[in-house]
C-alpha cells in the first residue's frame, strides 16, 4: 500500500462492483487478484457484460483465474503499450454506463487513467486498486523524458542521464511522478542510491 504524503500523490482504493451496463477492467500482474476479490462480492451475471484487458507479469500467472470468471471479452497483452490501441478503441466506442476498474502497479493504473481521462471519464469515477510493485513512472523535469519502472531513490534519467530525486509529486496528465536533479549545485556529489520502490 502506498503511503500518503502530499496531496497530488495518488491514493488507491479497493475495487467494488458498480451499477452499470458494461464493466471494463484493466489490470497487470497481481492486479488480477483485485479482480477476483471483486468477483466474490459481485452480483450473479456481473461478468457477462465485462471486458478484461490483462497484462500478465513476467511469470505469466493469473491468466486462467481471470478466464474462469467468463468475462464477455478477455484480452491478454504483452505490455501496456501493446494493449493501448485496444483500450483506446474500446473507449472510443463506449457509451455512458461503462464503468472502469484499474488494478495493479502504479504505472499501469496511471497510464490507463490518463487514457480514460482523455476519453472523458472523470478520475473520481474510476475504481482503482494498487497491487504488486511500487515501481514508478517518472518524468525528468529537465529533459521531459519519461523513465519506466523506477525502483531506486535517487534514479538516473534514462534520457539525459541526470541523477534525479523521485518526488511524490504526481501528474495525472502525464501519468508520472516528478524527478528533479538531486545534485544541481555540485554534480560530483553522488548520494547513495537505495532501492525503495519495490
Amino acid at each position: 500500500m502506498a503511503a500518503k504524503s502530499i496531496i497530488s500523490r495518488p491514493i488507491y482504493g479497493t475495487l467494488s462492483p458498480q451499477p452499470g451496463k458494461h464493466h471494463l477492467f484493466i489490470a497487470d500482474a497481481e492486479g488480477a487478484l483485485a479482480i477476483t476479490d471483486l468477483a466474490a462480492k459481485a452480483p450473479a451475471g456481473f461478468f457477462g457484460d465485462a471486458h478484461i484487458i490483462f497484462i500478465p507479469g513476467p511469470d505469466g500467472k493469473h491468466v486462467a483465474t481471470l478466464e474462469a470468471l467468463k468475462p464477455a471479452q478477455f484480452y491478454q497483452g504483452y505490455s501496456f503499450a501493446s494493449a493501448l490501441p485496444r483500450l483506446k478503441q474500446t473507449l472510443a466506442n463506449a457509451h455512458m454506463g461503462l464503468r472502469l476498474y484499474l488494478a495493479g502497479t502504479e504505472g499501469l493504473i496511471g497510464q490507463a487513467m490518463q487514457t480514460a481521462l482523455e476519453a472523458g471519464i472523470d478520475h473520481t469515477s474510476m475504481q482503482t486498486e494498487h497491487r504488486g510493485s511500487l515501481a514508478r513512472r517518472m518524468q525528468c523535469v529537465h529533459c521531459k523524458g519519461i523513465t519506466e519502472n523506477v525502483t531506486t531513490q535517487p534514479a538516473t534519467c534514462s534520457h539525459c542521464g541526470l541523477l534525479l530525486l523521485v518526488r511524490d509529486h504526481y501528474s495525472r496528465r502525464l501519468a508520472a511522478f516528478q524527478g528533479v536533479c538531486i545534485n544541481a549545485e555540485d554534480r560530483s556529489e553522488i548520494p547513495p542510491m537505495e532501492e525503495i520502490f519495490r
Partner: protein, 321 residues
C-alpha cells in the same frame, strides 16, 4: 445579507407575455453600463418590494451569456404560491426600478464534458436557454430533451427548434409523448454530462435511472426549482439577537428573519446551496424540511434547518440567529 454578492440597481426595460402562464422580464442597469458577466445556468435573486413586504425570489438568467447589455428572466405565474410570481406578473411594468443580486451559478456546465445532455421539464427550460446559447457559440455538442404540458405552454419551444433544429426534442404531455429515458441514457458517448431541471419528481426519476444505468454521480447535474412553500404561521425565537418573530403563512422563515432586521447569509433561496443553514437550539414540534441540502440524518436530528424553504409546526422553536 447575501454572501459575497453586491446588489445591482436595474430598471425593467421590457415585459413580454410569452404564453398564458409565462412572462419574460428584461432588466438593464440604471447607469447604462454593462451588467456583470455570467455563465449559463446562473440565477439572480430579484427583490420584490410589495407594499410592506419584501420577497426575494431566485430566477435563472435565460439570455445569452454573450449579451450583458441586459438580463432576462422568465416567470411562470403560480396562482397558489406565495405571491412572488403574481407580483411580477401584475405589478412589474417597463420603467420600474428594481434591485437584483449579482448572478450566482449553482447549475453550471462542466466544460470538460465531450457532450452535454439536457433534460428540461416545464419552466425548468430557462437555465438551458442560457446554456445552449453559451455552447452554441463555442461549437459545443449538446442535445436537449424538453417536456411540456401542451404545445401552447411549451415556453420557447419554437425558439429552440428554430435555433438548434434536431438538437432539440419536444415531448407534449397532452399527446402522450414521453421521453424514452432508458434509450436516451444508454446511447450517449463516453464523456457525456447530464443536466436536469424541472419538477422534483422528474429530477428524482432521471437521477435514479442514470445511477442504475451506471452514470457516475459526478456526471449528473440537477437544479430543483423549489420555491418556498406557504404553510401555517409559526413563532420563532432568535436566541443570538434576542428577538421573537412570527412567520406568516405566505412568508418564508428566512424572509421573516430578514424582516426582523437580522441578516443571515444566503445564496440560492431554494434549499440547495447551504449558505443559510441554521442551528436549532431547541424545539417542541415538527419540522417541515423542504431543502435538498441537509442529509436525512440532519433532518432527523432536529438540530439544523434551512430557513429559505423549510417550515415548522408546533409550540416553540429557538434558532441560533
Amino acid at each position: 445579507m447575501s454572501t459575497g454578492t453586491t446588489k445591482l440597481d436595474v430598471v425593467v426595460s421590457d415585459v413580454v407575455p410569452v404564453n398564458d402562464l409565462v412572462t419574460r422580464f428584461h432588466f438593464r442597469r440604471r447607469d447604462g453600463e454593462l451588467l456583470p458577466t455570467f455563465s449559463g445556468g446562473a440565477h439572480v435573486v430579484v427583490e420584490m418590494r410589495d407594499g410592506e413586504r419584501t420577497r426575494l425570489n431566485p430566477y435563472s438568467l435565460m439570455g445569452s451569456p454573450l449579451n450583458t447589455s441586459e438580463y432576462t428572466i422568465s416567470v411562470r405565474r403560480d396562482d397558489v404560491g406565495r405571491g412572488g410570481s403574481l407580483f411580477m406578473h401584475r405589478s412589474v411594468k417597463p420603467g420600474l426600478e428594481m434591485v437584483i443580486s449579482y448572478p450566482v451559478n449553482l447549475f453550471s456546465l462542466d466544460l470538460r464534458a465531450k457532450k452535454h445532455l439536457m433534460l428540461a421539464g416545464g419552466i425548468g427550460i430557462t437555465p438551458f436557454m442560457a446554456q445552449t446559447a453559451q455552447l452554441a457559440a463555442e461549437g459545443g455538442n449538446f442535445e436537449l430533451h424538453y417536456t411540456c404540458r401542451t404545445a401552447s405552454l411549451g415556453t420557447y419551444a419554437d425558439t429552440l427548434r428554430e435555433r438548434y433544429d434536431r438538437r432539440v426534442r419536444l415531448y407534449h404531455d397532452d399527446r402522450d409523448e414521453r421521453i424514452e429515458l432508458e434509450r436516451v441514457l444508454s446511447s450517449q458517448p463516453l464523456g457525456t454530462h447530464l443536466y436536469v431541471c424541472g419538477p422534483s419528481g422528474m429530477i428524482g426519476w432521471v437521477r435514479d435511472r442514470a445511477a442504475a444505468l451506471g452514470w457516475p454521480s459526478e456526471t449528473v447535474h440537477f437544479e430543483h426549482f423549489a420555491a418556498p412553500q406557504p404553510g401555517a404561521p409559526f413563532d420563532v425565537t432568535l436566541a443570538v439577537t434576542g428577538k421573537t418573530i412570527r412567520v406568516d403563512e405566505q412568508q418564508s422563515l428566512l424572509e421573516a428573519i430578514e424582516a426582523a432586521g437580522v441578516d443571515p447569509p444566503y445564496l440560492c433561496r431554494g434549499g440547495v446551496c447551504g449558505q443559510c443553514e441554521t442551528n436549532v437550539i431547541s424545539h417542541d414540534g415538527k419540522f417541515i424540511h423542504n431543502d435538498h441540502w441537509l442529509s436525512e440524518e440532519d433532518h432527523r436530528s432536529g438540530c439544523k434547518i434551512m430557513p429559505c424553504v423549510s417550515r415548522f409546526e408546533g409550540r416553540s422553536l429557538v434558532l441560533e440567529r
